[in-house]
């Protein structure tokens, strides 16, 4: 009897279908927020009952950049900052696939910032999951465009002298149709947000505030991973539809979380088809991807 139970436990990890088990264990540190975020995406895909053959994930470089390597999906680990334009090409070639870009704040917003705003502007149908740990973690904890003013980093040993980006405001003002922010503590709400983002036609953006206890917390003497989760618990303020001018994150300030934007707008391919229809009338066959044969 007990032998049978053991066998069942061994056989089925709940996320085995969606993870490359031949690549586990992963390289991430204990208490990193990435495990939780990957679980949230995996659960979202499971709950949506999507055909995972039709989901592709694209990552850039960094700790979060490694996500593509652990997801059992068609997955692309590209160069630093370039996950988004790679995903643009992939999406246009295969709009029938759900394209998910999963990358970090430095990758998406610093070196990849231009691609981020322009892809949002075009409202290309893809989901961006941005794990924001306030720091360049893979390279050893250097300052990022998301590092709060005054916070310390390996390259700002006397405190950061730069104002950080407010990512939900940046995404929304660039044209994103769905914008949400949660922390790695809000697993259930984060999963719901990822589900909504994936289902939303157009450029959807989910920011995940995630603990980096190895670097950010250590340099700034913020305690352990558990202390960071307690901080999120005590300092997160859920404010759906918040004025995005008010969701800046200061050093150890309150963190406004919630669903901020959820609007309808024609996607890039919608507009492409509408424009060509205007120009060519019935001669134009709406674009549906592939080599133009569908």
């Amino acid at each position: 009897m007990s032998a049978k139970v053991e066998e069942q436990v061994r056989e089925e990890h709940p996320l085995e279908k969606i993870l490359r088990m031949d690549r586990i264990p992963h390289i991430w540190c204990p208490t990193c927020g990435l495990g939780t975020t990957v679980t949230a995406l995996s659960s979202a895909l499971e709950q949506l009952q999507l055909d995972t053959n039709k989901v592709a994930v694209v990552s850039g470089i960094g700790c979060t950049g490694r996500v593509a390597g652990y997801m059992k999906l068609d997955s692309f680990h590209t160069t630093h900052g370039r996950a988004v334009p790679f995903a643009v090409g992939l999406h246009i070639a295969r709009p029938d696939l759900k394209t998910i870009v999963f990358s970090g704040d430095g990758d998406l917003i610093s070196i990849g910032g231009n691609h981020f705003i322009h892809t949002a502007r075009r409202n290309v149908d893809m989901t961006i999951i941005c794990v924001n740990n306030f720091i360049y973690a893979m390279t050893g904890g250097q300052v990022a465009p998301t590092t709060p003013l005054t916070a310390k980093a390996a390259t700002t040993p006397y405190g950061n002298a730069e104002h950080p980006f407010n990512l939900p405001l940046l995404a929304a003002s660039s044209g994103a149709v769905y914008v949400a922010r949660w922390t790695a503590l809000h697993v259930r709400r984060l999963t719901v947000a990822i589900k909504e983002a994936i289902q939303k036609p157009g450029f959807s953006f989910v920011e995940v505030i995630a603990p980096c206890s190895t670097l950010y917390a250590r340099i700034n003497k913020l305690g352990t991973g558990l202390d960071l989760m307690k901080f999120y618990h005590d300092n997160s303020v859920i404010r759906h539809g918040a004025d995005l001018n008010d969701v800046d994150i200061d050093f150890q300030s309150k963190i406004v979380v919630g669903k901020f934007v959820d609007i309808e707008k024609p996607t890039y391919i919608d507009c492409l088809n509408a424009g060509n229809k205007r120009a060519f009338g019935d001669k134009y066959k709406p674009y549906g991807g592939g080599n133009g044969d569908n």
Partner: protein, 385 residues
Amino acid sequence: MKADPKNVLTGAHYLDGNHACAEGAIAAGCKFFAGYPITPSTEIAERVSRRFPLIGGVFIQMEDELASMNAILGASWGGVRSMSCTSGPGFSLMMENFGLGLMLETPCVLVNVQRGGPSTGLPTLPGQADMMQARWGSHGDYEVIALAPDSPQESFELAVHAFNLSEKYRMPVLIMTDECVGHMTEKVVIPDADQIELIERRYTDKKPGEAWPFEETEDLVSPMLPVGQGYKFHVTGLTHDYRGYPVINAEAQHKNVSRLMDKVRKHADDIIWLEEKDVDGADVVVVSYGISSRVVQPAIQRAVKDGIKVGQIKMVTVWPFPEKRIAELAGKVKSLIMVEMNFGQVFLEMDRCAKGKCETYLVGHAGGTVHKPDEIYKTIKEAAK
């Protein structure tokens, strides 16, 4: 596979090299173009943007060249033939992700309509000074394939050929043209679609779960895996094994990089395309490529009239370099002359391969105009002494 008649503008046309190049790409089945405006290449993008809607293609003007290069890689993995065009400054910006294309072994075509450099240089005037950048511009060790058309007609033909090579060897292929060829207008004859042979992409015939993206094959070219069909494959710019999984050690590095290089080196005889004239028995052989291979003609004719035995080699492919042929010729001729619009780039390769067995001469300048035939003639005279 024959070209799709719907894509082919069969007939005789009066086109510049850039428009002809665009038509070649379209005839080859290109259905995705991502680019950023830059002189003197932009006519390619403009032509494609006009032609695509009714043949099921998508043109997108990206935010910069880094995005353009990545978008064509993404589209290629999506199963669509893709290309971009640029010139010097944009080529520099594309170099990192050209490397990603080589590492992910992604078929696509990139056109560099060369202008004078460095930096912003001469936007509206020709150069051939990106040839070494084409060879070595991305970091790391690798081999490339680069073609150099000398006319609008050849711009059409080599665009088709570039797509074929990119599918055959599963890698990005470069077309290194220049402002002169790009903006020169001549008669271009586009054949019937059934006269245009296209190489189809080779996909795995294995089932999902059994196939890997970089499997070892005899010809070193692994069949690709299609997206959206359950293969759930992974590819990475990191050094990887046959599964596409990162492996960070010297052994994996040796295996991965050697394969990328051998894929071209071992097929060099198939890839290299030279057009030779009067080379047997020549005392002097003039080697050139692209527009320079036309500019050498009056100089050679004049030297032949003087009684000098002059042969010529037009390099249709510049990379991989025809090492064997140059080494062979160096043992037979008095001199080899390289004519190119730079201060000696492909010349360095010719000189290396000659190994001191003959004299080598460079007729080069900084770009901005083609050579004066007189300079070439004088060098031929000198080289024949």
